[in-house]
C-alpha cells in the first residue's frame, strides 16, 4: 500500500492498472481524457501489460472492447457525455452479449447547449442499457471501484458490463490523498478473467446471434437476472475487499444519520459530502436531517431505499438530471421503490447542478427547509418549483 495525491481520473487509472485489463480501447473526450492518458503512460513504461488501441470514435471504442471480451480478454474503455451517447448502440450490445467490460464514464452535461461540465444526464439516460452503474463520491472510492468492478462484472452469476461513473471535473479533476493497494494484494483479490462466453478454437461458437420471438424473451430474462444478481455479489465483493484492504463499503446505498431522521436527502455522487455537512449543521439546530447516497443506480436499491425512508416525515431526491416532460429519473426510481414497498411518505424532487452549476450549502439547507414545509413536486434549484403531477 502506498499513498499518492491524485485526481479522480488518476485514481481510477491506478485502480485499472491493478485490475490488469488485457485490451484498452481509447478515445479522448473531456473530462475523461486524463484516464486514457495515464493508461497509455502505464503501457509505455511497462507497468501495465495491455494492448492499447487508438480507436477512431467512441462507437469503435466499445465495439473493440466487445470484440476483445468475446475473445476472452479483460477489456477496458472510458468515455463521457456525447461519447457515451454516440456509443449507445454498443452499450445494449455489450449487455445483451453478457460481456463484462468495465467502462469509466466522466459524468458530463449533454448538448445542446454545449457544455463540458458535470451533470448526470449522460449516464442516467442509459439506465435501461443493461449495465451495472456505480456513482463514486471521491477519488478513493473511484480507485476501489475500478478494482472491484471487474470482480463484480465477471462473476458467473452476473456476467454484465459495468459503468463506473465519476462526476465530471468535481471528482475527475479534484485531487485527494489516495491509498493505492499493493499489487500482490490486488492480484489476490482479482484473479485473471475466466469465461466460457468466448471464442473457443476447440469448440467453435457462433456469438452475438439473432433470437426471434420464440426465444428472445429468455435471453432478456436471463440478462435481467444477471444484473439483479450483482446486488449480492457487490456485497460479497465489498466484504472480501474490506478483509484484504481494510476499507469498508456499504453496498448499493450509503446512509448517514438516517436512524432517527425525519428529513432525508437522497442523492448520488460527489454532492453527498456537502449534504452530510449540511445535515450535521441542521442537527445542531434540532432538525433531524439525514442523507442517503445511492452508490448503484443499477441494480437499483429498491429495498434499501424503502427501508431507510419508511419512517421519515419527508424526503427529497437531489439529482443532476431531468427527464424532460416528467421529473428527475432518480426521483422516478425512488418513488417506484417506495410504492412497491407500500411506503407512503411525502417526497420532492430537486434538480440541480445542470451543466456544472454549483450546488451550495445554502441550496441544500433550503431543500431540508422546504420539504419540512412542503413544496412543489419538482423543483429546479435557482429557478423554483414546478407544478408537476399534483
Amino acid at each position: 500500500m502506498s499513498k499518492k495525491f491524485l485526481s479522480g481520473n488518476e485514481a481510477f487509472a491506478e485502480g485499472i492498472r491493478l485490475a490488469r485489463p488485457q485490451v484498452i480501447s481509447a478515445y479522448p473526450i473531456t473530462p475523461q481524457t486524463i484516464v486514457v492518458e495515464r493508461l497509455s503512460e502505464m503501457v509505455e513504461d511497462g507497468s501495465l501489460s495491455a494492448e492499447y488501441v487508438h480507436v477512431e470514435s467512441e462507437h469503435s471504442a466499445l465495439s473493440c472492447a466487445i470484440g476483445a471480451s468475446a475473445a476472452g480478454a479483460r477489456a477496458f474503455t472510458a468515455t463521457s457525455s456525447q461519447g457515451l451517447l454516440y456509443m449507445a448502440e454498443c452499450l445494449y450490445y455489450a449487455a445483451g452479449g453478457r460481456f463484462p467490460i468495465v467502462m469509466m464514464n466522466a459524468d458530463r452535461s449533454t448538448a445542446l447547449p454545449w457544455n463540458i461540465y458535470g451533470d448526470q444526464r449522460d449516464s442516467l439516460s442509459q439506465l435501461d442499457s443493461g449495465w451495472i452503474q456505480s456513482y463514486a463520491e471521491n477519488a478513493q472510492e473511484a480507485l476501489d471501484l475500478a478494482l472491484m468492478s471487474y470482480k463484480i462484472a465477471e462473476d458467473k452469476r452476473v456476467q454484465t458490463p459495468y459503468m463506473a461513473n465519476l462526476d465530471g471535473f468535481v471528482l475527475t479533476h479534484t485531487y485527494e490523498t489516495v491509498d493505492i493497494p499493493a499489487r500482490g494484494q490486488a492480484d489476490k483479490f482479482l484473479p485473471p478473467y475466466e469465461t466460457d462466453n468466448r471464442i473457443d478454437f476447440d469448440s467453435p461458437k457462433n456469438m452475438a446471434f439473432s433470437a426471434g420471438p420464440d426465444t428472445n424473451y429468455i435471453f432478456k430474462y436471463k440478462e435481467h437476472k444477471g444484473i439483479l444478481a450483482a446486488a449480492e455479489v457487490i456485497t460479497e465483493t465489498e466484504k472480501e475487499f474490506a478483509e484484504i484492504f481494510g476499507r469498508h463499503y456499504t453496498g448499493l446505498t450509503e446512509n448517514y444519520r438516517t436512524e432517527d431522521a425525519e428529513y432525508i436527502i437522497v442523492t448520488l455522487g460527489s454532492i453527498a459530502g456537502l449534504c452530510r455537512e449540511t445535515a450535521d449543521k441542521l442537527r445542531e439546530n434540532g432538525v433531524k436531517a439525514g442523507v442517503v447516497r445511492i452508490r448503484y443506480m443499477r441494480p437499483f436499491p429498491n429495498k434499501e431505499i424503502a427501508d431507510v425512508l419508511r419512517n421519515v416525515k419527508a424526503y427529497a431526491v437531489l439529482e443532476k438530471d431531468i427527464s424532460f416532460g416528467n421529473e428527475g429519473t432518480v426521483f422516478t426510481n425512488v418513488n417506484s421503490a417506495l410504492k412497491k414497498a407500500g411506503v407512503d411518505v411525502k417526497g420532492y424532487n430537486f434538480i440541480g447542478g445542470l451543466g456544472g452549476r454549483n450546488i451550495s450549502a445554502g441550496d441544500i439547507e433550503n431543500i431540508y427547509t422546504s420539504i419540512a414545509k412542503g413544496t412543489e413536486s419538482v423543483n429546479f434549484i435557482g429557478i423554483g418549483g414546478e407544478d408537476n403531477g399534483k
Binding site: 494492448e51 471480451s69 480478454a73 478454437f201
Partner: protein, 297 residues
C-alpha cells in the same frame, strides 16, 4: 491451374445450412473465403444479409468461431477480437470480416479507415451486391449509376441512381494499406488466390469482391456466376491488387463485351435509355484510361 486452386482449399464446409436466397453471391464469397482460411478463422459479420441468414438461434450456420458485430462496427470488432486473442497468447488464427457494400462504404467506413490506419492484422472482405439487399434493395454508396433500387426509382424524371459507385479499393489503397484487391465471384479462383495471399501478409488486408444478388439485380438465381464474370468482361469492374505502393491489374480483357447487353439483362437496368448507357460507357472508358496509365499489368 484451375484444379490446383480448387485443390488448395479445404473440403470442409464452414458456412452451410443458412437461409440465403438461391444464387446468393455473398454466401458464395463467404463460403470460398472460409475454405481458404480454415478452422482457425474468426469471422466478424455486421448486421446484413450474411448475419441475417446465418445466425438465427438455434440455427447457427458457421462451424468456425463467428460473431455478429454492430452495423458500423465490423472493423472495430475485428480489431478487438484480434487484440484480445493476441493478448491471450493465440498466434495461429485469422480475424476476418465479411461486410456488405452498405456496411463497408457507408456506415462502416469510419471504423474500417481506423483499422487500416492502425494497420491491425485483419482481413476485411467487402461482398458488394451494390445495394442494401437485406432491407429490401435500397441504394448504398456502392450502387452503380442508373441502377433502380427501392429508394432510387426509375421514372420519367429520374432514371434510378444518379451517382456512380464510391471507389472503395482506391480509398483503402490511399491509406497505404499493405494489401488491397478487387475480385468477383465470377472469377472465383482469382478471389481464392487473393484471400490466400492476404492470409500470408501482416497488417490490414482489404478485398472487395463483387457478389451479385439475383433478387436485387433482377436476374435468374443460376445467372450469378455468369453475370459476375460479365461485369468484369465488359469493363465495368476490374480485377486488381494494391501492394507495396503499386497498383497491379490482374486481368485485362482483350476486347470489352457489350455494356448494353450486360445492363439490359438485369431488371435494375432495364429502364436505361441510350443516353444513360452512353454515360456509363464513357465513365468506363475514362476509368480504363486511368488504369492503363497507373496500374502495372
Amino acid at each position: 491451374m484451375a484444379n490446383k486452386v480448387a485443390d488448395s482449399i479445404s473440403r470442409e464446409e464452414y458456412f452451410y445450412g443458412h437461409k440465403a436466397c438461391a444464387g446468393c453471391g455473398g454466401s458464395l464469397a463467404v463460403r470460398a473465403a472460409l475454405k481458404v482460411l480454415g478452422q482457425n478463422a474468426v469471422s466478424v459479420l455486421p448486421a446484413g444479409c450474411m448475419s441475417a441468414v446465418g445466425f438465427n438461434f438455434p440455427q447457427l450456420c458457421f462451424s468456425n468461431n463467428s460473431i455478429i458485430s454492430t452495423f458500423a462496427g465490423t472493423a472495430s470488432m475485428l480489431t478487438g477480437v484480434e487484440a484480445g486473442l493476441r493478448a491471450r497468447g493465440y498466434k495461429d488464427f485469422t480475424a476476418v470480416g465479411f461486410a456488405g457494400d452498405g456496411g463497408t462504404a457507408d456506415i462502416g467506413i469510419q471504423a474500417l479507415s481506423g483499422a487500416i490506419d492502425r494497420n491491425d492484422n485483419i482481413i476485411y472482405i467487402c461482398y458488394d451486391n451494390e445495394a442494401y439487399m437485406n432491407t429490401g434493395i435500397q441504394k448504398s454508396g456502392l450502387t452503380p449509376f442508373g441502377a433502380k433500387t427501392t429508394t432510387t426509382p426509375a421514372g420519367a424524371n429520374i432514371h434510378g441512381n444518379i451517382r456512380p459507385k464510391k471507389n472503395m479499393f482506391e480509398i483503402a489503397a490511399a491509406h497505404d494499406i499493405p494489401y488491397a484487391a478487387t475480385a468477383s465471384v465470377g472469377y472465383i479462383y482469382d478471389f481464392i488466390q487473393k484471400v490466400q495471399k492476404a492470409s500470408q501478409i501482416q497488417g490490414t488486408k482489404y478485398i472487395h469482391v463483387i457478389a451479385p444478388c439475383p433478387t436485387g439485380w433482377g436476374v435468374a438465381p443460376d445467372a450469378t456466376v455468369d453475370i459476375a464474370k460479365e461485369v468484369v468482361d465488359c469493363g465495368l469492374w476490374y480485377l486488381a491488387e494494391y501492394e507495396n505502393g503499386t497498383f497491379k491489374l490482374n486481368h485485362k480483357p482483350k476486347e470489352f463485351t457489350d455494356v448494353t447487353a450486360y445492363l439490359k439483362k438485369q431488371g435494375r437496368f432495364k429502364h436505361l435509355t441510350d443516353d444513360d448507357i452512353q454515360i456509363i460507357t464513357a465513365s468506363r472508358d475514362k476509368k480504363w484510361e486511368f488504369i492503363d496509365k497507373n496500374f502495372e499489368l
